[in-house]
Amino acid sequence: MNTLKNFNPIVLLIYFIYVLFISIFSFNPILLISGMLGAVLYCLVVSDKRSLLKSIAACIIILLAVTITNPLFSHNGKTVLFFINDNRVTLEAFVYGAVLGLCITEVILWFKCFNLVFDTERFIFLFGKISPKLALVLSMTLRFIPNFIKSFREINRTQKLISNKRRLKRYLNSFSAVITQAMENSIITSDSMNSRGYGSKKRTFYSRFRFTLSDAGFLIITSVLFVLSVVYKTDFTYYPELIFPSINFLEALGYLSFIILTFIPFIYELKEGIRWKYLISKI
């Protein structure tokens, strides 16, 4: 179940921009870890466990790789741990590397969430808001590509049975044939478009999405949380010395806002799940 999808794509896009913006520019390990947790929990609810495990494994590898390689190239920092080839390896560089790794993996995980929410229909909707023609081109492309691949396979299969040409030669022949066929078909498509009035008036764009009250609510809540977490952000210093700033009430509010912001998809999904179970139990 993926109920987050039911929000208007524009509202969702803004939400993803909020999260990624703070993640990338804050460079704050606490925020990054909270972001990762939020993304993982959301994926856990809506996607299959296997692909999530794969992503997590990939993320751990990236995280380790960046943490280890950063000190090899960056020799800043006060706390020297040891020397390699007369080069200093510092604690600060390790920590910076780890945070950089967190940042990269967090962005990867959020893009995974983004993919779970934004299917082609939602993409086309976003483009349609910019230009209806652009949306049409995108939609036609999405139809064309699988068709093209399918007919290439069919032609190639037939050629394999009939002709005894070598593989490369056969691929080239089949490829040129599929292009010719595609061009022939495009004449029919353009006839069909013309006969349905393409270009007769300024195109409008139809999508099934509306902007509802709950979209407005979602937008307002996420925007407030975003503003709070930007205004009351805490800056970490890594070089030349690690400085973790102390946290008072307002900074805590900033942290809390971002944590809530990143957990929203998970919380929302959980809430809908519980509501569903509750409704079932009443029947």
Binding site: P146, T158, Q181, S195, G197, T204, R208
Partner: protein
């Protein structure tokens, strides 16, 4: 009220020496259901396209076409788009967008209609055409029949006053074709939409239409109601392509009323003096198995469903075996398993001869820019074969420029160059008119004379009844019934030719119109 008025219309294509349409005069009343018939190249498509401003071909035109008393050239683009709908032959290439709902919305979007109106119109017509459950499906995932229905729906969304259709069902399998024609009739009845359809698959549309127009060499040779025109077409070549009951009536010179449906055909037969048994020999000349398939199991994905479930099949030397079955029952899959493109996970295929394969789309056989280059890919001794198939004039032609029948012949030629002993054919008659079909049937017969065995997959029952030696029905992953063609069609009730349906329990053993005629006394 008249909706189209065609006055002295003549038309000549720019490069062609002869007229495609000659002095056509026709009045079409609002709400009429018109059927245009005629051989390929008689000008059906040209006439239909002339009625639709955006698609009108380039060339020399004289005479006028009026739409609601207005010259067709004076219609605005938006007016022509919304009032006159057009459906083309190829169900697939007509679709523009990737999703069913966006395809339905395409026309209205082009006309600049606002979002809320589009929302309600698409919903309404999705419900009318039964697309509610498929509303967010990918258009690529639809079957051919569903695609053509979608094309019709996306035209109907604009609420046209006329729909023009150019051979809309020739690429569909028979069940979908019948469905489509009935939907068209329903639209005509429900909304009073005028329908003008060019088609050569006449079994249903002929009896449902109001008037038939017969075009011969760009000329309206006959124009009448289906019952009346039957007699006029009796001595024309086109007469052979009319529905079975009409053909029967025309051959018999009866003064009774002309039957159009199977039901009327049965009544007609019962009034005649007939032998109740058609003596036919049920022996087959072929012997010796050349291809045997034992207990074949196949599925596309590891956890998918089985497409073939323990299928067994024996093909005998020198026969034409027609494998019938509805869409998606695994006929094409079976051919691909036999030819080695797909691997069965269980079962045996035994043959020690050379197999060759002709795909559903004969275009896929060709990869070069001229027929000659393509033939040379296989062998250099192609001239003799091409002349035998009457294709020597087309050596320098691009294969895609050949007509459907010529293309199929050329494809057979190319495949024959590989010197096969067994020929596998997938839906060989798709998009063919009856003349092209008969031609193909004769070619197949001549192949068997050379000792080539043909296994063909088809949903064309009439074709199988006329040319196959044996037939089998593929259902639920196995061959459920099989037999010598005559016996096969005699025993089936639904899966049989209309002639057999008419003759059932009246004449034993008759499965074609010719069989019935031989049993009529006097």
């Amino acid at each position: 009220m008249e909706i189209f008025n065609i006055e002295n219309l003549s038309f000549k294509y720019n490069k062609s020496p002869k007229y495609a349409l000659k002095n056509i005069n026709l009045k079409v009343n609002s709400g009429e259901f018109l059927l245009l018939i005629g051989q390929s190249g008689c000008g059906k498509t040209t006439l239909l396209k002339m009625l639709k401003k955006e698609l009108a071909p380039l060339g020399e035109k004289s005479g006028e076409i009026f739409y609601k008393r207005k010259k067709i050239e004076d219609l605005s683009k938006a007016e022509s788009a919304s009032e006159i709908g057009f459906i083309l032959q190829d169900p697939d290439s007509q679709i523009v967008t990737d999703k069913v709902y966006s395809e339905l919305a395409f026309g209205l979007e082009s006309l600049g209609v606002d979002k809320e109106t589009i929302r309600s119109k698409t919903a309404e017509f999705a419900a009318y055409f039964g697309f509610s459950d498929m509303f967010d499906r990918e258009t690529n995932s639809l079957s051919g029949g569903e695609k053509q229905l979608l094309n019709l729906a996306s035209v109907m969304v604009m609420n046209p006053k006329v729909i023009l259709l150019d051979e809309p069902v020739s690429m569909l399998d028979p069940i979908f074709a019948v469905d489509f024609i009935h939907t068209l009739k329903r639209i005509n009845d429900d909304f009073g939409t005028t329908v003008i359809i060019a088609e050569h698959h006449l079994s249903e549309v002929y009896r449902l239409c109001d008037k038939v127009i017969y075009l011969n060499n760009g000329d309206i040779t006959a124009y009448n109601s289906p019952k009346e025109i039957s007699v006029d077409l009796k001595n024309e070549k086109i007469g052979k392509t009319l529905p079975a009951p009409v053909r029967l009536y025309n051959t018999l010179n009866s003064d009774l009323d002309c039957p159009l449906s199977v039901k009327e055909g049965r009544e007609f037969l019962s009034k005649l003096d007939i032998n109740s048994n058609y003596n036919s020999n049920l022996e087959i000349k072929c012997s010796g198995t050349v291809l045997s398939v034992r207990n074949l199991w196949f599925r596309y994905e590891k956890h998918g469903r089985d497409i073939l479930k323990g299928l067994s099949l024996n093909i005998k030397k020198g026969e034409i075996y027609a494998l019938l079955g509805e869409n998606g029952c695994g006929k094409s899959t079976l051919l691909n398993v036999i030819n080695g493109s797909l691997k069965a996970y269980k079962g045996k295929i035994k043959h020690n001869l050379k197999l060759s394969y002709l795909p559903q789309n004969p275009k896929n056989v060709f990869v070069k820019d001229t027929l000659e280059d393509d033939m040379k890919l296989i062998s250099n001794s192609y001239k003799e074969l091409l002349s035998e198939f009457g294709l020597l004039d087309y050596l320098k032609t691009h294969p895609y420029d050949l007509s459907g029948g010529e293309l199929q012949r050329a494809a057979i030629c190319k495949v024959l160059l590989t010197k096969p002993d067994i020929l596998l054919m997938d839906e060989a008659t798709k998009g063919f008119d009856n003349f092209a079909k008969e031609n193909l049937g004769r070619i197949l017969k001549s192949l068997t004379d050379r000792g080539i065995t043909v296994l063909l997959v088809t949903h064309d029952l009439e074709f199988a009844a006329s040319f196959a030696d044996r037939c089998g029905l593929l259902f639920n992953g196995g061959i459920t019934s099989e037999g010598i063609t005559r016996q096969f069609f005699r025993e089936n009730i639904f899966y049989t030719t209309s002639a057999a349906k008419m003759a059932k329990e009246i004449i034993d053993n008759a499965v074609t119109v010719d069989d019935i005629i031989r049993c009529v006394n006097g």
